[in-house]
């Protein structure tokens, strides 16, 4: 898009890049905010139906479409309170820290094969690292609220998030191992084609790893049944007890943004990303899905695919929330340390062995990879897998795009 602006309209390079960055940021913000709006309504409706009632039925029609908007207006109109002994600067800063962490992780998330904020070579690593920064907003909020409930809730939530990063990291490494790259675009491109190309169906170990990842993701965003830190029956509202109005809504948007993000990450890593179950684009002869000359409809289809899968993940999270009872904090920690981590480690070893002895089942490869991989890298191959396939799948990545380098 920047090239279009530079060449067609004749804008100077710096203005074009600024415009592109602003548009990208605006779109991602809309995805988070609009998503939060839709998901809040969906949560209330799903909760209601699971509890055998109707949910919002008056605001804006028979299904309560405008309920989220009404909630937003109410929150904006609330009084801005701060507790007496609270640390002013930290209290005001905390919601924005949480929201920034959740928002920054969308930079590396690809919505279609070239619809990505910044195509990072270490995309997976970056997303997992930035997700772990959300815990600072929680700790700051808990401490700065000058209230026992807040501090306890914040410390429990921080301990939970930090503990679940370990199995989350192990689960995330499995698709990286299968694709040979940490680039999210590459990982999703490798799953192009029919439904069976998706990594979740690659081998039984990856199937199990997907569910372990999902469990760790639910725990990582503090959704039920792992939501002890914000449980009404225990800690009033945990770390955001003292927050009201717009400040609270930032925490809320951060939570729903993170839910969407981990679901979208699951979709990219395991469920094929923007590739649908049937490769419509290549069947219709439009493209193979990865060339820039593909019609715009292909990209839109890809975006719709990814958002559909991520929404499905979020809806399943809501379904779980209103079905399962809440876990105690020691049960949460036990699940992490005694179940998720060993299972993730075993499955990781299983995938590794599967790669060695049964690489994808298609092309048998030699056991000694170092020389072949080195040769492939030295030949400077592009994004495509070389024909003499190396089972470890190490593929050199394309050069990254650097925003704003003049001339």
């Amino acid at each position: 898009m920047a090239e279009f602006l530079i060449e067609t309209i004749g804008l100077p390079s710096w203005l074009a890049w600024t415009a592109v960055a602003a548009v990208a940021a605006f779109l991602i913000l809309n995805v988070i905010a609009g998503g939060a709006l839709v998901f809040i309504w969906a949560e209330r409706k799903i909760a209601a139906r699971i509890q055998d009632r109707l949910g919002p039925t008056r605001t804006g029609g028979r299904f309560g479409w405008l309920q989220s908007l009404a909630d937003g207006i109410k929150l904006l109109a609330k009084e801005d309170l701060m507790p007496d002994g609270a640390d002013g600067m930290l209290f005001r800063l905390a919601p924005y820290v949480s929201f920034c962490a959740s928002f920054c992780a969308f930079i590396a998330l690809p919505f279609a094969f070239d619809v990505v904020g910044l195509r990072l070579n270490v995309g997976v690593f970056f997303v997992v690292a930035v997700l772990g920064l959300e815990v600072f907003g929680v700790i700051l909020a808990g401490y700065a609220s000058a209230s026992k409930w807040s501090l306890f809730g914040a410390m429990r939530e921080a301990a939970q998030v930090v503990s679940y990063e370990v199995p989350l990291g192990m689960c995330v490494v499995v698709p990286v191992m299968l694709a040979g790259s940490m680039d999210l675009v590459t990982i999703a491109e490798k799953q192009a084609g029919w439904l069976t190309n998706w990594y979740i169906f690659h081998d039984p170990f990856t199937f199990v790893i997907f569910w372990v990842y999902y469990t760790c993701a639910v725990a990582s965003v503090n959704r039920a049944p792992f939501d002890l830190a914000e449980a009404e029956s225990e800690l009033v509202a945990g770390f955001h007890t003292e927050y009201s109005g717009l400040r609270w809504s930032f925490f809320f948007m951060a939570e729903y943004g993170s839910m969407f993000l981990v679901s979208a990450l699951a979709a990219v890593l395991f469920l094929g990303g923007w590739n649908g179950p049937v490769p419509i684009a290549s069947l219709l002869g439009w493209s193979d899905g990865s060339s820039l000359s593909a019609p715009y409809a292909v990209r839109l289809l890809g975006c719709a695919n990814l958002m559909g899968k991520a929404t499905a993940g979020v809806l399943v999270m809501m379904w779980i929330r209103w079905t399962l009872p809440r876990l105690r904090i020691d049960q949460v920690m036990t699940t992490c340390l005694k179940y998720c981590t060993p299972i993730a480690a075993l499955m990781f070893a299983g995938v590794m062995l599967w790669q060695l002895f049964l690489p994808g089942g298609l092309i048998p490869g030699s056991r000694h990879q170092a020389a072949a991989v080195r040769e492939a890298w030295l030949e400077g191959r592009g994004d495509r897998v070389p024909s003499t396939n190396v089972p470890l799948g190490v593929v050199p990545a394309t050069s990254r795009q650097v925003v704003g380098v003049s001339q």
Binding site: I9, L11, P12, D84, M89, F125, K148, V402, V405
Partner: protein, 236 residues
């Protein structure tokens, strides 16, 4: 519409030479240095932790700008997301009201300031002394380094473009990798042992202090921003 845009851009022409890399470098460097200086200047240990988080996060941004994406992501994940969370946990566990702000005498601080200034002068002088280090960079996109780095860590070097290395073969980093792995295991066991819960016959010093000292008076609560609820002993 296009004419309006072109007119606006000619007005903005003096800014046309904005080098985004340099601008973001200035931004991240200002945040990193400013936050580091605030860590030294502030007395409240919780705010020190926050400023340290800002400083290390901005350093990660500097790593990204220098082209080392892997190290930048590693800095964010391990340093900011791991080490600093550990540090903040430690701060919270020991954030008794009287311990949150400890000041050193002014004389010590002046002396430390003089020493720091002298050290800074020496470092800056050596940094600008070498002509080759002052030349601007290539300003072109370089190849990503995640794959060569990963392969170097298992002993296979695939980057052969560093000048001066043609005479001798490059060695992998398998041995340091293994050593660091064992080192981390040792540290894990050691830290877990040091922090284990011990069965005590006599109450801990912390509990003794908490049981003897009266709860802080109500006036203490009016100190804005300084009072903190405590996890161990004490109360508001």
């Amino acid at each position: 519409m296009t004419e309006c845009l072109l007119a606006a851009t000619t007005w903005l022409l003096p800014f046309a030479a904005i080098d985004w890399h340099g601008l973001f470098f200035l931004l991240f460097a200002a945040i990193a240095c400013g936050a580091a200086i605030m860590v030294v200047l502030t007395d409240n240990v919780v705010r020190m932790a926050l400023h340290l988080v800002l400083s290390l996060g901005a350093t990660a941004g500097l790593f990204f700008l220098a082209g080392s994406e892997f190290v930048g992501a590693m800095q964010l994940m391990i340093y900011v997301g791991g080490t600093l969370v550990l540090l903040v946990f430690g701060v919270m566990l020991t954030a008794q009201t009287q311990l949150v702000s400890l000041r050193t005498p002014a004389a010590d601080r002046v002396l430390a300031g003089i020493l720091a200034a002298a050290l800074f002068a020496v470092l800056v002088q050596s940094a600008v002394s070498v002509e080759a280090w002052r030349r601007p960079g290539r300003a072109e996109v370089s190849a990503p380094t995640a794959t060569p780095l990963g392969m170097a860590l298992v002993g296979v070097r695939v980057d052969g473009d560093a000048a001066g290395h043609e005479s001798r073969p490059l060695s992998g980093y398998l041995l340091p990798f293994e050593i660091v792995s064992v080192h981390l295991l040792v540290v894990l066991i050691g830290a877990a042992y040091l922090a284990r819960a011990k069965r005590r016959r006599t109450p801990r010093a912390v509990e003794l202090v908490a049981s003897v000292d009266p709860p802080p008076p109500v006036q203490a609560r009016s100190e804005a921003g300084e009072s903190a609820s405590v996890l161990v002993g004490g109360g508001r």
